[in-house]
C-alpha cells in the first residue's frame, strides 16, 4: 500500500505551513518578552 499523491501533498503543505509560522511566532514572543522585560 503506497501513499497517494494527494495525501503526500497535504502532508508536505501542512508541514510547510507550520514551518512558515514558526519564525513569526518566535519573533512575536521575543517582542512581548522584551517589552515586559522578561527576556532573561
Amino acid at each position: 500500500m503506497t501513499i497517494s499523491s494527494a495525501a503526500f501533498s497535504i502532508l508536505i503543505m501542512c508541514a510547510l505551513a507550520l514551518v512558515v509560522a514558526a519564525p513569526l511566532i518566535l519573533l512575536t514572543l521575543l517582542v512581548r518578552d522584551w517589552r515586559s522585560k522578561n527576556l532573561w
Binding site: 501513499i3 499523491s5 512581548r32 518578552d33
Partner: protein, 483 residues
C-alpha cells in the same frame, strides 16, 4: 574523507562564510557572557529565561545533525514513515513539558539531571545514570562534530577534518566565553536561520520539480519509499518516538533548560517548541525524497541533504544552506557542551572529587571542562568510523532505558531504587543486544520495554515512600561556607 566532486561552492567562499559567522557567534558569546561571573548566571542564565528564548532554544537544540543530515538520510532509506518517524521526535519535547514544570518546582536550586537521580534513587543508580548520560552526550557530540565535517565537505569541498575542526573550535569558543546566555541567545538567531534555510530549499524543490513529480518519481524508481506498510520503517517510527523521549527525559541538555527557565515558562515553552519542531523533519525528509526526481547520484547516505540542497539552489543559494546547517549544528553543539560540562562539574568534580568547592571554583572548572569536551570530541571525530544515523541510534539503547526511571521517579512516590537500577542496566543491555541482533531501529523500543517491566516490578516488590522535599538542596556557596 576526500572533498566531493559535486561541491558547488568553492572552498574560499566556504571559508569566508564560516569565518563571518564564527566572528559573529564569538562576539555575541563574549557580549552576552561578559557579566556572567556567578555560577548560576554562567551555567543557567540566572534561572530567568523567558518564553521566546526558552521556546527557541528548545527548538533549535532539537534541530541538530538529525534534521540537517540524518533526517534526509532516514527518509531516503525508509521513505514516508522515516519522515514521520523522525517527526515523532517532537513527542519527547511535548511530554517533557509537564516534567519541566515539576522539575522547576521540586528542585528550584538544582543543576543537573544527575542531581535528581542521586537524590531520588541514591548513589548506585546515580552512577549508572551518569555512565549512560555521559556515553550519550559523547555520542551526540561526536555525531554533530562529524556532521559538521561531512556537511562542509559536501557543500564546499573543504576537507572533512578542517570543517569538523572549525565547527568544534567555534562552538567551544563562544560557549566558553558566554556560558548559557551565549547558548540560548545564539540559539534564537540560529532557529530563525534554520527555519529560513529549510523553507528556501523546500520551496525551491517544489518550484523546480513539484510535489506531484517528486511523488511520482519516487514511486517509479524507489516505490518502497512511498510504501505505508514497510515493516522496518514502522518499527523505526515507534523506535524513534521512544528514542526521542529517552533522549529528552534523561539528558541534562533539557534538564538544564528546565532549571534555567523563569517560573511558569518551562511547560509552555516545551509544548510550543514541540509543536513548532514536529514539521521540520518532514520538510527535511521531503527534500531528500526529491533524489529520484532530480536524478541525483548520492555517494554516501549521510550526504543526501546537502546534495539535494546544492542541486536545487545553485551557488548563491548554497551559501544560505551552509549558513543554515552551520546554525543547526552550532545550536546543538553549544547546548550539549554547556549541559555536559555542568553535568561533569556538578556530578563528578563536585560530588566525587571536591565536595566543598565554592561557586567560583565550579565556575572556573566549567570552563576547563568545556575545553576538554571539545578536545575529546575532536579526537573521536577524527577517524570518522561510522555513519551519522548508526552512531546516533547506537545510543538509543541506553537512553530509552532511562525513560521510566525518570518519569516514575518524578511523579510516583513508590518508584524504587532497585527498579530504577534494574531498568537502566537491563534495559540498556537488552537494547544493545537488539541493536546488534536485529537492527538500529529496534534498540530504543526494546530498551524502553525492558526498563518499564523492571520499574513496575520494583514498585510492586519493593515500593519506596519518597518525600519530595528531599529533592531540594542548598547551592554550592552555602556548602562551601559550611565546609
Amino acid at each position: 574523507m576526500n572533498a566531493v566532486n559535486s561541491a558547488i561552492l568553492d572552498a574560499s567562499t566556504g571559508w569566508l562564510v564560516l569565518a563571518g559567522f564564527s566572528v559573529l557567534w564569538i562576539f555575541l558569546g563574549w557580549y552576552w557572557g561578559r557579566n556572567s561571573d556567578e555560577l548560576d548566571d554562567y551555567v543557567l542564565a540566572g534561572r530567568r529565561v523567558g518564553m521566546a528564548l526558552g521556546t527557541a532554544t528548545a527548538m533549535a537544540t532539537w534541530v541538530t545533525s538529525n534534521t540537517t543530515m540524518a533526517a534526509p538520510q532516514i527518509a531516503l532509506q525508509m521513505g514516508v514513515w522515516g519522515m514521520l518517524g523522525y517527526s515523532l521526535g517532537a513527542v519527547g519535547l511535548l511530554m517533557f513539558a509537564p516534567l519541566a514544570a515539576r522539575i522547576r518546582r521540586l528542585m528550584p536550586g538544582g543543576y543537573t539531571s544527575g542531581d535528581f537521580v542521586r537524590l531520588r534513587y541514591g548513589k548506585t543508580a546515580w552512577r549508572v545514570f551518569l555512565l549512560i548520560s555521559l556515553c550519550y552526550s559523547l555520542g551526540w557530540l561526536v555525531s554533530m562534530g562529524m556532521a559538521g565535517g561531512v556537511l562542509i565537505n559536501a557543500l564546499t569541498g573543504i576537507p572533512y577534518h578542517y570543517g569538523m575542526t572549525v565547527i568544534l573550535v567555534i562552538c567551544v569558543g563562544y560557549t566558553l566565553l558566554g556560558g548559557f546566555r551565549a547558548v540560548i541567545g545564539t540559539d534564537f538567531i540560529q532557529a530563525l536561520l534554520i527555519l529560513s534555510g529549510l523553507l528556501l530549499i523546500a520551496f525551491l524543490a517544489i518550484d523546480k520539480v513539484g510535489i506531484d513529480a517528486i511523488h511520482a518519481a519516487a514511486l517509479e524508481e524507489r516505490p518502497e519509499l512511498m510504501n505505508l506498510l514497510m515493516p522496518a520503517a514502522i518499527m523505526f517510527l515507534f523506535n524513534n518516538l521512544l528514542f526521542g523521549v529517552g533522549e529528552i527525559f534523561h539528558s541534562n541538555v533539557w534538564w538544564s533548560r528546565a532549571f534555567s527557565f523563569r517560573e511558569g515558562v518551562g511547560k509552555k515553552a516545551y509544548l510550543l517548541a514541540g509543536v513548532l519542531w514536529a514539521p521540520i523533519p518532514i520538510v527535511a525528509g521531503f527534500v531528500a525524497l526529491a533524489v529520484p526526481a532530480l536524478d541525483l547520484n548520492v555517494p554516501a547516505a549521510d550526504m543526501v541533504g546537502p546534495m539535494v540542497a546544492a542541486k536545487v539552489l545553485g551557488t548563491t543559494g548554497a551559501v544560505l544552506v551552509l549558513i543554515m546547517v552551520f546554525s543547526a549544528l552550532s545550536s546543538s553543539l553549544d547546548s550539549l557542551l554547556a549541559a555536559t560540562s555542568i553535568l561533569v562539574v556538578e556530578d563528578i568534580y563536585r560530588r566525587h572529587l571536591k565536595p566543598d568547592a565554592s561557586s567560583a571554583q565550579l565556575r572556573r572548572a566549567t570552563g576547563w571542562i568545556i575545553v576538554g569536551l571539545g578536545v575529546l570530541t575532536w579526537l573521536l571525530c577524527a577517524p570518522r568510523i561510522t555513519t551519522l544515523a548508526e552512531l546516533l541510534y547506537f545510543t538509543g539503547a541506553f537512553v530509552a532505558s532511562t525513560i521510566w526511571p525518570i518519569a516514575a521517579g518524578l511523579f510516583l512516590r513508590n518508584a524504587s531504587t532497585m527498579g530504577a537500577i534494574a531498568g537502566m542496566v537491563l534495559g540498556s543491555a537488552a537494547g544493545l543486544y537488539s541493536y546488534f541482533a536485529i537492527g538500529f531501529y529496534v534498540a530504543a523500543l526494546v530498551g524502553a520495554a525492558v526498563s518499564l517491566v523492571c520499574v513496575v516490578l520494583g514498585m510492586l516488590l519493593q515500593p519506596a515512600n519518597f518525600e519530595w522535599v528531599n529533592l531540594s538542596e542548598s547551592r554550592p556557596e552555602k556548602e562551601g561556607q559550611a565546609a
